[in-house]
């Protein structure tokens, strides 16, 4: 088949063409209606309605090109229902709408990895600027745009950093199903995220945005049109998150195989379930908030404009009602991966299964009641501060349970230091520092010193990068051999781990000092000359940290593209069901739906079978 013929049809190439076409269609249709300049109040030389309609048209064109509208149209025309699309075939599946959850998982891994590296590149640019106290590498405005892209990309994309690749790939397998509950929606969540990532990057063509990832008002309302890219990015991410969460909940609740009771679920599934609950409840608030902010700019509503009867506090509150659960959306899958992987490499059952589940659910519940700790000094009703101080500190109880279960699982185990295990152990160290520095931020008097400073910046990098990104890599080293069928180089993996762990700490620990002792606020382009040594130290470490990421990339490409050493079905000696299947897992997952008789942690408990591959018939898809 010639290359040209491959490009014809509903695939990524068509999607990109139609996406660009849709963008211009939206742009010019708005121009045709209201002219090149929207003249509400004065002579703004820009028509934001065109920009927004352009992006909406672009996304629609992109989805049409991928073929998302084919099935609804076919159903309208009376075709019978079908659940699967493009599941057979070669590499082309990865560049089109595919309903195989395993393909979607790999799409997510590569797609999110790509944007993770773009976010990381922006971090390098930030640290380049901060090498010198007041010299300008990037002008002040561009610097804020870089900071904004870095923060927004990481917070937006990495919400699906673990659920995207690993939950999509593994949840159906772990619960003994052949697909997700809504396979097309599953594919939609991925492609929406990709469209969103591109939209965020295009902000540089429209003046960037100065607000960081929080987009506070009225700064957002007075910003350049580039901020529309931020709103659209985050709103699309919100839609993707909501749908992903709904899909996960529906799948886990309704599609578990016989015998897989709630108390036999792998802890990773519990982690996905609680994260999905957070997504479904929190992300709609984000979509609504950003739509309101976007309307304030584009059609001159006044939700957040104080001078016109709106309130900037409304934005702050709504944003953090989403924003605090959001940080647990980032953290909880990390907890779950750690608790899932530890038993395998300690050769012991997961200690305190019920406590671990309780810990996950406790964090999920409490995370909705802490948002105002971001607003301790904002001037909102001060009477509530003791309550939010208490609720924030209470979260350390369920988080502590996760620690306890992990630590007791290691106790008297037979610990093997494979690469995934190293990343999980590093999680304990990083999250300990991150969590305990959070104690300073939750205490209102201490927060007077630390709020909005580099201290809080170091804190959330320890929890999110130390908590999420380390477990993201643990998941990669653990599951990619299953997903691809090829081993990752162990030696390079260990070098990657140690460089990443060391330089991560060398990068972020000094930032505590810069914020605490030096009084350096976040997102500044200048700092006192006395802090130059500290900042230079951090920048150099950050570059080396970036280098360790390149090392990972080298390992990934070398192992999967060049070496291609086949992975055994169960390289880690795990008792979990995904390792009982061949690598990579076949399209239909199981020949027959399995029957579960215990949880997957029966180490040292004799030959109790985890899976009884008999009994129930293959059943309906």
């Amino acid at each position: 088949m010639s290359v040209a013929r491959r490009l014809v049809g509903f695939n990524l190439f068509t999607a990109c063409v139609l996406g660009v076409g849709g963008w211009y269609a939206g742009w010019f249709s708005a121009h045709a209606v209201v002219g090149p300049s929207l003249d509400y109040f004065a002579d703004v030389d820009f028509n934001e309605l065109s920009l927004v309609l352009g992006y909406i048209g672009g996304v629609l064109g992109f989805l049409i090109g991928l073929g998302f509208f084919n099935y609804p149209l076919a159903r309208l025309r009376g075709y019978p229902p079908s659940l699967r699309e493009k599941e057979q075939g070669g590499i082309g599946r990865y560049f089109s709408l595919c309903t195989d959850h395993k393909v979607v998982g790999i799409q997510y891994l590569v797609g999110i990895g790509l944007f993770f590296f773009i976010g990381g590149l922006n971090a390098m640019l930030i640290r380049t600027e901060l090498l010198r106290p007041d010299h300008q590498v990037w002008p002040a405005g561009t610097y804020l745009t870089i900071v904004g892209i870095h923060g927004t990309m990481m917070m937006g994309m990495m919400t699906s950093g673990i659920l995207g690749p690993f939950a999509n790939y593994l949840i159906p397998i772990l619960i003994g199903a052949r697909r997700m509950a809504f396979p097309r929606i599953e594919a939609l969540t991925f492609w929406l995220l990709m469209a969103a990532g591109v939209i965020l990057e295009t902000t540089i063509f429209f003046g960037g945005f100065p607000t960081g990832w929080t987009g506070y008002q009225p700064l957002g309302t007075e910003a350049n049109p580039g901020i529309d890219c931020y709103y659209l990015f985050f709103a699309l991410v919100g839609i993707s998150m909501t749908l992903l969460g709904l899909n996960m909940i529906a799948t886990i609740v309704t599609m578990r195989a016989p015998g897989l009771t709630w108390s036999r679920l792998p802890i990773f599934v519990w982690g996905v379930l609680s994260t999905a609950a957070l997504m479904v409840l929190a992300a709609p608030v984000l979509i609504a908030t950003l739509s309101m902010a976007l309307m304030d700019r584009v059609v001159q509503t006044n939700f957040f404009v104080a001078a016109q009867g709106g309130s900037a506090y409304l934005y702050e509150n709504l944003f953090w009602v989403f924003g605090h659960p959001e940080v647990y959306v980032l953290a909880l899958p990390g907890f779950a991966i750690v608790l899932e992987i530890l038993p395998v490499f300690a050769r012991k059952p997961l200690w305190g299964y019920r406590l671990a589940v309780g810990g996950l659910l406790g964090v999920t519940l409490l995370s909705f009641f802490v948002w105002q700790h971001h607003l301790f000094f904002s001037g909102i009703n001060a009477d509530l501060r003791p309550f939010f101080m208490l609720s924030t500190e209470l979260i350390s109880i369920p988080t502590g349970l996760t620690f306890l279960c992990g630590m007791m699982t290691l106790w008297r185990g037979q610990i093997r230091y494979s690469v995934p295990m190293l990343f999980c152990l590093a999680w304990f160290f990083n999250f300990l520092i991150g969590g305990l520095s959070g104690v300073f931020l939750s205490d209102t008097p201490s927060d007077t010193t630390t709020h909005g400073s580099f201290f809080s910046m170091a804190h959330f990098h320890y929890t999110i990068m130390g908590g999420l990104v380390f477990t993201f890599f643990a998941g990669i080293y653990y599951w990619v051999p299953k997903m691809t069928g090829f081993q990752l180089n162990e030696r390079l993996g260990k070098i990657h781990f140690w460089t990443m762990f060391v330089f991560f700490n060398l990068t972020f620990f000094p930032l505590f000092i810069a914020g605490f002792q030096g009084g350096m606020p976040r997102r500044v382009v200048t700092y006192p000359h006395g802090l130059q040594f500290l900042n230079d130290w951090v920048s150099v470490s950050a570059f080396l940290l970036g280098g360790s990421m390149l090392l990972f990339l080298y390992n990934f490409v070398k192992s999967l593209v060049f070496d291609r050493i086949p992975s055994p079905a169960d390289p880690w000696g795990s008792k979990s069901i995904e390792w009982q299947l061949p690598s990579p897992v076949p399209v239909q997952n199981f020949d027959r739906i399995p029957v579960f008789s215990s949880d997957p942690y029966g180490y040292g408990e004799g030959g109790r079978p985890v899976v009884v591959p008999a009994g129930a018939p293959a059943g309906m898809n």
Binding site: K348, P349, G379, I380, M389, I397, Q414, L425, T444
Partner: protein
Amino acid sequence: MATPAPKRAEHGKRVIVGGIVLSVVATVLVAVFGGRFLPPGNGSVQASGQVLDNTVMLAIVTPVIAGLLVFFIYVLSQFRHRGGALVDGPPLRDDSRVRVWWIVVTSVTVLFLAGFGTFELLQNGSGGGQGPDPIAVPAGTKLPVQVIAQQWQFTYRYPTYGGLETPQLVLPANTYIELHVTSLDAIHSFWAIELGVKADANPGVDNVAFVKTKGPRTFHVRCAELCGLWHGYMFNNGRVVPEAQFTAWVKSQQSDFAPIAKYLPKYSTTYYPDPQRRAG
């Protein structure tokens, strides 16, 4: 299966004893010396209070870090798998003593922290912005000073001196100051670093914070909330000076800004809304 019981107890004893010893040593060091190094220093009564808070926090997290370090060093060195075929560890799935102790200890710590923080907060507001209706109001007379934030500079007004407005912040020593923080445009945050004051500046909102100055000194003011292009340049220095010097400074400022005095708006806790969609 054949693991003798005494050996198991020994592991636990070693970790607990080691953890306690290291915790006690480290915590005593932190409690004794921590106050000297911890921010924001003793530039004001509120700053000293925050140093106390930071010391207590550090003294509580130190034994946690010490205990967990001992645990992990012990576990990771003692319980490693040494060569050969895979061996399973003992199938321990629960231990009610560990469970109860852990929950009790974490809960007590957390409740103590919240109680202590609330107590400290309600004493004098600990320098934080409390909004227009502060709940922790220190007794006695206070000198009101207004902080007006705008893109991208702070200016200050002294209502008791005829509404004098100036771009410099000078405060009398050993005086209770009542700061009224407001903004003319975007959200800023007034952070007087060495005085231990942080209060967001919102348009149309009067955010009140209290601080009692100590002896004469200089301090840094920075904006701590992202407010646009020049956020990173929005800083200046303030001074705490003796009472007499303060009066003299007020006089000099009054004469300096005399020409503009009649054009300033009447002192008010807020200067918004001001329909500024039009301009140019």
